[in-house]
């Protein structure tokens, strides 16, 4: 049973830690930004024929 208490306890610490860091994150300036990162899949690309088929 002690293991469960320890687990829940450590879990809660991590949750608390995550909440605190989240607000720090919100308040901070970014080198990058979630907005920029979230656009990554939308990069355009061009194509060339595969060499084996040219």
């Amino acid at each position: 049973m002690n293991v469960i208490l320890l687990t829940v306890f450590v879990g809660l610490i991590l949750v608390g830690f995550a909440i605190v860091l989240y607000f720090y994150c919100r308040a901070s300036s970014y080198e990058s930004s979630p907005e920029r990162d979230s656009l990554m899949p939308l990069h355009e690309e061009t194509v060339v024929a595969h060499r084996g088929s040219r």
């Binding site: 293991v3 995550a18 901070s28 300036s29 990554m40 899949p41 024929a49 084996g52």
Partner: protein, 767 residues
């Protein structure tokens, strides 16, 4: 193009190869799935042929769809999206080719060895040890190729999809290696180093997390890349993906014991498995919502775009399956659902709905782009979608009803403990129509998949293969990675460690140390706040820099995934197993019984029969006293099973005569009318492999099974003597049998199951 720019070409050939392999193996795996579903209703489909029986084909089905269909699909998705997300061609063409061809060779080896009965006898971990080593090595090749590509990337920050790929690669390696630790007895046979309850725990730590880290995290990564791409919208919330990723990786690994609820597994592990399974609901739905909400403002595209249609349905099935999973992990729900078709329905909601539909969406997205053409037919793709959807719903609904029906019938007993349905076959008869419906549902799904294969084939034939390209600025300044020192000596990480250490000190040590822990905890918080405020350092900065440094990031992922494994696995597997057994301890097998057990494993009997009686009135009445931890402690591998297509066998030893088993293995339906168990005529012809026994017993002794010291000659002579005694007994019943045939060894084992010694009885009498 300016002088200081050059064009780099992605390696999309490897993506095409993995994608086509996935489609081919998907057809094979699903075809076998439909066949084995039909075998349960129409036993003649076993064709009295050893390599076509349910027990041998079911592992082929699971391994084919997991490692061949989803595996190849994941490799295609990872290689295609990673190159674009990090703006680099795959690091090594040679490693990419080696990865592809060796993986296909592994699949072919599995497709040959499993029907031949070469198996380790653990679900989704059946492949024999040489193939295990090949899988581990090729996984390392994949890892090197992937991380090397991250190392040469031009995009500084790692996008969320890449985090999921990192978690997949690291965690699957850890799980696979630990659960496949074995000692060989020959080129095609080995015993797992863990036995009994330890093996059960390790198996489901692996088995559940094979679902988590092979069927879920890579597909989530694929979702995070292809969903925005197909919807032409950025991911709904990047911040939600941070929370979702880390909580999923940390929590998932703990949930394995929910496969062993109400068994002889120690109670604390069962509770831990249940609690973490319930907690898992939140991050899973974080991912689902993030995926679905990416469609904001683009829902209308669902009407016209088959890719989005498959993605939206796939993610919805993910949400449904991850709600049902925690529900099934509640002990009282598990009491009803475990060992029944409900679990099969749950699994297929995930595999057909989530994996299959996400794969289809990705293939429909990729095919036109990789062959520079248009999709051959949107109508066919739409037909595939609806056939697949109806197929899944038929499958899942019939399995829910079948599972609940069988659960209620098998657990049904009146106040005096009299069973409502004492004949197991009565429950089988009642679910036959539902199993029939499952065949139709699975058939629909397979037809839809075949339509996709045709559609993509026609698409390919109308185009020609092309590779994506990107322009690189030669003057581009390389980013400075954070490095290990930066990651682990960064104030954010150090403060986090200090907070955890001081909190534990405060709570778990009394007196002065506790006070010191409390004081230092508050001091750390204060210092951190002041430091961050004064210096302008933030967690956000640190995390952004961490995302530019793949090695420290990967180490954090490993740590997050390792915690659960260490807390659950290490205490149990390092125990002196005999020391914790207080009541009954398993009687060590004789050499012939051990050989019979290996045949039982080889025939895949565990696919239909459990050997674990749970402490419920109905189960005890039906099968005998509930199973205790010590009664299977020497079983390498454990054979508790996960499904009762047939009755539990934990106490079958001595229940019937040798002649009954003889007749039953030859033609089960003559002894048990309406039974769907296959006939095993080859056991009556094939010879027992006595020569392999000395090596097997030597390995068992190495693993700590207390076999009495015996010379090789004594082992073989003992086995033959027991075989002759059984043959003589059968002869009395009018059954002429060659004592050296496999059926005799099988009977020897079946008659031994459930025999144990009373620990308190110093005379060691057999119970």
């Amino acid at each position: 193009m300016s002088a200081n720019k050059r064009t780099i070409e992605y390696n999309d050939q490897i993506v095409r190869q993995f994608m086509l392999a996935s489609i081919v193996w998907g057809v094979v795996g699903m075809l076998v799935g439909v066949l084995i579903a039909a075998q349960l209703n129409y036993k003649f489909l076993n064709f009295n042929t050893e390599w076509l029986t349910f027990g041998r084909l079911r592992p082929l089905h699971t391994n084919a769809v997991i490692f061949a269909f989803v595996g190849n699909m994941v490799f295609a998705g990872v290689y295609h999206s990673t190159q674009r997300l990090v703006r680099a061609r795959l690091a090594s063409d040679f490693l990419s080719k080696l990865h592809f061809w060796a993986w296909q060779l592994i699949i072919v080896s599995a497709a040959i060895t499993l029907p031949l009965g070469y198996t380790r006898g653990k679900e989704y971990a059946e492949l024999i040890w040489p193939i295990n080593i090949a899988v581990a090595l090729i996984w390392v090749v994949f890892a090197i190729n992937f991380f090397w590509t991250l190392g040469i990337r031009r995009e500084k920050s790692l996008y969320v999809a890449v985090w999921f790929y990192i978690a997949t690669i690291i965690t699957v390696a850890m799980l696979y290696i630990v659960n496949h630790l074995s000692i060989p007895t020959s080129l095609v046979h080995s015993y797992p180093i863990f036995g009994g309850v330890q093996d059960a725990l390790v198996q489901w730590w692996y088995g559940h997390n094979a679902v988590a880290f092979f069927l879920t995290t890579p597909i989530l990564g694929i979702m995070y890349y292809y969903m925005p791409k197909a919807a032409d919208r950025p991911v709904y919330s990047y911040k939600l993906s941070v929370v979702h990723f880390w909580s999923l990786v940390f929590i998932y690994i703990w949930a394995g014991p929910h496969h062993l609820l109400n068994t002889a597994l120690p109670e604390w592990l069962q509770s831990l498995g249940m609690i973490f399974s319930l907690m898992l609901w939140a991050p899973s739905w974080g991912g689902m919502l993030n995926g679905l909400l990416t469609l904001r403002g683009a829902w209308d595209k669902l009407r016209t775009d088959p890719v989005l249609k498959f993605f939206a349905a796939g993610i919805t099935f993910y949400g449904m399956a991850t709600l049902e999973g925690p529900l099934l992990s509640i002990k009282s729900v598990s009491a009803l659902a475990h060992y029944t078709d409900w679990i099969i329905g749950h699994v297929h909601a995930g595999t057909l709905g989530w994996n299959g539909f996400m794969a289809a969406g990705m293939f429909y997205f990729l095919a036109p782009r990789l062959w520079n053409t248009k999709l051959y037919s949107k109508s066919l793709a739409n037909l595939h979608f609806w056939l697949g959807l109806v197929g899944i719903l038929l499958y899942v609904a019939s399995m829910w009803i079948s599972g609940i029906t069988q659960g209620l019938m098998l657990n049904g007993a009146d106040a005096k403990g009299i069973l409502n349905y004492p004949n197991f076959l009565e429950t089988l008869q009642s679910i036959r129509p539902l199993m029939g419906l499952r065949i139709i549902g699975g058939g629909f799904y397979l037809i839809g998949f075949l339509l996709m294969a045709y559609n993509i084939g026609k698409t390919i034939s109308s185009g020609s293969p092309v590779n994506g390209t990107f322009e690189v600025d030669e003057d581009e300044v390389e980013s400075k990675p954070m490095g290990l020192i930066g990651a682990f000596c960064g104030p954010s990480f150090l403060y986090a460690v200090a907070l955890v250490v001081f909190t534990c000190l405060w709570l778990f040590s009394g007196g002065v140390l506790g006070v010191i822990g409390m004081v230092f905890l508050f001091a750390t918080v204060l210092v951190a706040v002041v430091h961050f405020k004064a210096s302008g350092v933030t967690f956000g900065n640190w995390y952004d820099r961490l995302l530019q440094s793949s090695l420290p990031f990967s180490i954090f992922v490993l740590l997050a995934a390792l915690v659960g494994g260490v807390v659950q696995i290490v205490p149990l597997v390092t125990l002196d197993r005999e020391s914790v057994i207080t009541d009954k301890i398993q009687k060590v097998y004789t050499p012939l019984e051990l050989e019979g057990r290996d045949l039982y494993v080889s025939e895949g009997c565990y696919n239909c029969h459990s050997q674990m009686i749970r402490p419920f009135v109905a189960e005890v009445k039906r099968y005998g006293d509930y199973s205790l931890l010590g009664e299977s402690i020497y079983d390498h591998p454990y054979q508790w099973g996960s499904r009762r297509i047939g009755p539990d066998l934990a106490r079958v030893g001595g229940k019937y005569s040798n002649a009954w088993h003889y007749d039953h293995m030859l033609e089960p339906h003559r002894i048990s009318p309406h039974s769907n168990m296959p006939n095993y005529p080859w056991l009556f012809k094939k010879s027992t492999n006595y020569a392999s026994l000395p090596s097997k017993i030597s390995v068992q002794q190495t693993l700590g099974v207390p076999f009495a010291p015996m010379s090789d000659e004594e082992i073989i002579a003992g086995a033959k003597a027991q075989a002759e005694a059984i043959a003589a007994d059968l002869k009395k019943e009018g059954k002429e049998v060659d004592p050296d045939t496999q059926i005799v060894a099988m009977i020897a084992y079946l008659q031994q199951i459930g025999k144990s010694l009373d620990v308190s009885d110093t005379s060691g009498a057999v119970e």
